[in-house]
Symmetry: C2
Subunit: 131 residues, 2 copies
Amino acid sequence: MNTKDIFPKGQKAPAYFTGDAWVEMLITDVATYDLMSYNVTFAPGSRNYWHQHSQGQLLLCTSGEGYYQEKGKPAQLLKAGDVVEIKPKVIHWHGATAHSEFVHVGITPKASINQVTWLEPVNDEEYASNI
Amino acid sequence: MNTKDIFPKGQKAPAYFTGDAWVEMLITDVATYDLMSYNVTFAPGSRNYWHQHSQGQLLLCTSGEGYYQEKGKPAQLLKAGDVVEIKPKVIHWHGATAHSEFVHVGITPKASINQVTWLEPVNDEEYASNI
């Protein structure tokens, strides 16, 4: 565990990621709060596929360096302390930079009606265009 | 700023706190996500008043040492990595230990209908009983 890690690293993310990533669920009682929150750790170079959330998603960046990119826009460099408000239905991906681990807390609002739609992987050419 | 701080310290909390505390709002678009999220920094010995949230609250502890106490129960010691799920209408307080700063991210679920009710301060005798 990196000395900067705050929350447990959790389990390997099973799908929709290129490279190694880990997910630890932080909130267990989704029914009461109608939200999900989780810690995501991306190994250097790893990222999730292009995807969208019908009700959006929130990222609270806690360590390392990563990227957030919306379809058709340049990627944004993310560091600890950055907050990303991903609007409903915006196609995007997030992940680590090529040479740094990246950790964020994610929040899925309106969990009971928030549908995620996974699309294609972020290919190496798309990823490399950010470096 | 403490080297462990991740998010900005923000502004002095205006009321319902004993001692110095600071609050930085992390999410601006409450209407879209129907939740609030904020970073709270407690100086050593500071704490909020007894209170309850009609829809509960979530705490993600990021640095230092603090307490969480529900009415009628012993206080729980909190450290970085601890997560507290506060159920709806449970009377509680949170704050720093006597000798450490304490920082947590707070999440207010169902913001559009989540009412907070502030009660009396945690007096020095109640606070000291945890040490």
